[in-house]
């Protein structure tokens, strides 16, 4: 029986044709790891599920980009982190208690942030970071404990750039704490 094909978005290259089998395969392989990542950052099962769906939709919109990756899991991990950081920022705009919540997350997960105040400060700095890429790099480094090589691979930049972004983040975080 031929498989049904969904045409996603405006007509594009052949990668725009996504079969249900493709979706199912991707889902079965990566859903758990993605859900875990989203839940780790968002601390809400429902929102984590929403975010996970968003990640899959984003990937399926342009499957050729995904297929070109040597490590699909790494690619998905990066997209999930980016989307969840955006959601946390949106949450921060409407929720006065977000800082405490995120600080709790960071305190539990980050080996580097020992005290509540330090974790809170780190949370504030990450979420206040205007540049989304720098925020993600700081999260990977300070919360996830990823090496600069791993971060470089995740964000598609050189180690030098990652190092520069981390230094920039540290400077900005220090400046913010001095002003506070």
């Amino acid at each position: 029986m031929p498989s049904r094909a969904f045409t996603v978005g405006a007509p594009r290259e052949t990668n725009s044709t996504v079969t249900p089998e493709t979706v199912q395969g991707l889902y079965q392989r990566h859903a758990y790891a993605l859900f875990r990542r989203c839940r780790q950052l968002l601390r809400d099962d429902d929102e984590a599920r929403d975010a996970m769906q968003e990640v899959f939709l984003k990937v399926l919109e342009d499957l050729s980009r995904f297929r070109a990756r040597s490590s699909p899991a790494t690619f998905l991990f990066g997209i999930a982190t980016h989307l969840c950081l955006n959601r946390l920022r949106n949450r921060s705009a409407r929720d006065a208690t977000w800082e405490a919540s995120v600080a709790r997350t960071l305190q539990e997960d980050s080996p580097g942030a020992s005290g509540a105040a330090e974790a809170r400060q780190l949370a504030e700095s990450i979420l206040a970071e205007a540049d989304g890429e720098t925020a993600a790099i700081a999260l990977y480094h300070f919360v996830d404990g990823l090496s600069q090589g791993e971060i470089a691979n995740l964000v598609g930049k050189s180690r030098v750039t990652v190092n520069q972004k981390l230094q920039q983040f540290r400077r900005e975080a220090r400046r913010r704490s001095e002003c506070a």
Partner: protein
């Protein structure tokens, strides 16, 4: 993970559970697990959680939802935000009404197409934007129906946890309404009331009007697969909780 003495980080675990830790990295990973009791316990916990995650009926629903979202609307075609209503007002009304009908402007039509099929998806207005209705919903959620069809008529019904059926579209209609476009959203959105239980929405697509009595009876009898002659039916359900 470049060293057997290093604990796996979040990315290592994600790759591990996606089946991507192989060859030398896989050997390092296994060596580390054999030597580190805390990581071994963590791995066992996660493996157990993954088994439960994969076995959960939610997964099938989510997969179906994902495929439905691909059919009915790419992310960029759905407006990120439905027009805002004062939530204090809507929450108050939702407590006493089954659904509150709110007239709103139809969003942009989707650019995604699946020819020859009738597609129906309910969307919920969440703070992060409009998202497809999942397996769980809550009192106060504002929902709207999005459809795509080659049929001429559409009827949308709602069935609550007690089995009561209500006509959502056309509002208080006795039969299906003729569609003005092959794809779009219903002209109204609805606020879910506070009664907990399974909430189901059914769309009846047809070439001739379907009587609401006939469709309601079918829906009341079979909430997940109502059958009405010469109509294609699409159903979406969620377990409603008193609050989010």
């Amino acid at each position: 993970m470049n060293d057997v003495r290093t604990h796996p980080n979040a990315l290592d675990w994600a790759r591990y559970f996606s089946g991507e830790v192989r060859w030398l990295a896989g050997w390092r990973f296994r060596r580390h697990l054999s030597a580190c009791a805390s990581c071994r316990h963590l791995e066992a916990d996660m493996a157990q959680e993954r088994a439960a995650f994969d076995a959960s009926p939610l997964r099938r629903e989510e997969l179906a939802l994902l495929q439905a979202r691909l059919v009915t609307s790419p992310a960029r075609a759905i407006p990120k935000k439905l027009p805002q209503l004062p939530w204090a007002i809507t929450a108050g009304i939702a407590a006493v009404a089954i659904v509150l009908v709110v007239v709103r402007a139809p969003p942009q039509p989707p650019t995604l197409v699946e020819k020859g099929r009738d597609a129906f998806t309910m969307y919920v207005d969440r703070p992060s934007g409009a998202v497809a209705l999942g397996s769980r919903c809550a009192a106060g959620d504002r929902v709207i129906a999005r459809y795509r069809t080659e049929r001429r008529y559409l009827l949308v019904l709602e069935r609550d946890g007690s089995g009561a059926v209500q006509v959502l579209h056309p509002r208080d209609g006795v039969a299906s309404a003729q569609l003005s476009a092959a794809e779009g959203t219903t002209p109204t959105s609805w606020i879910l009331d506070a009664a907990a239980g399974q909430e189901c929405f059914a769309a009846f697509f047809s070439d001739e009007p379907v009587e609401t009595n006939l469709a309601s009876q079918a829906f009341a009898t079979s909430p997940t697969a109502p059958i009405v002659p010469r109509a294609t039916v699409r159903v979406q359900c969620c377990n409603k909780e008193p609050s989010r």
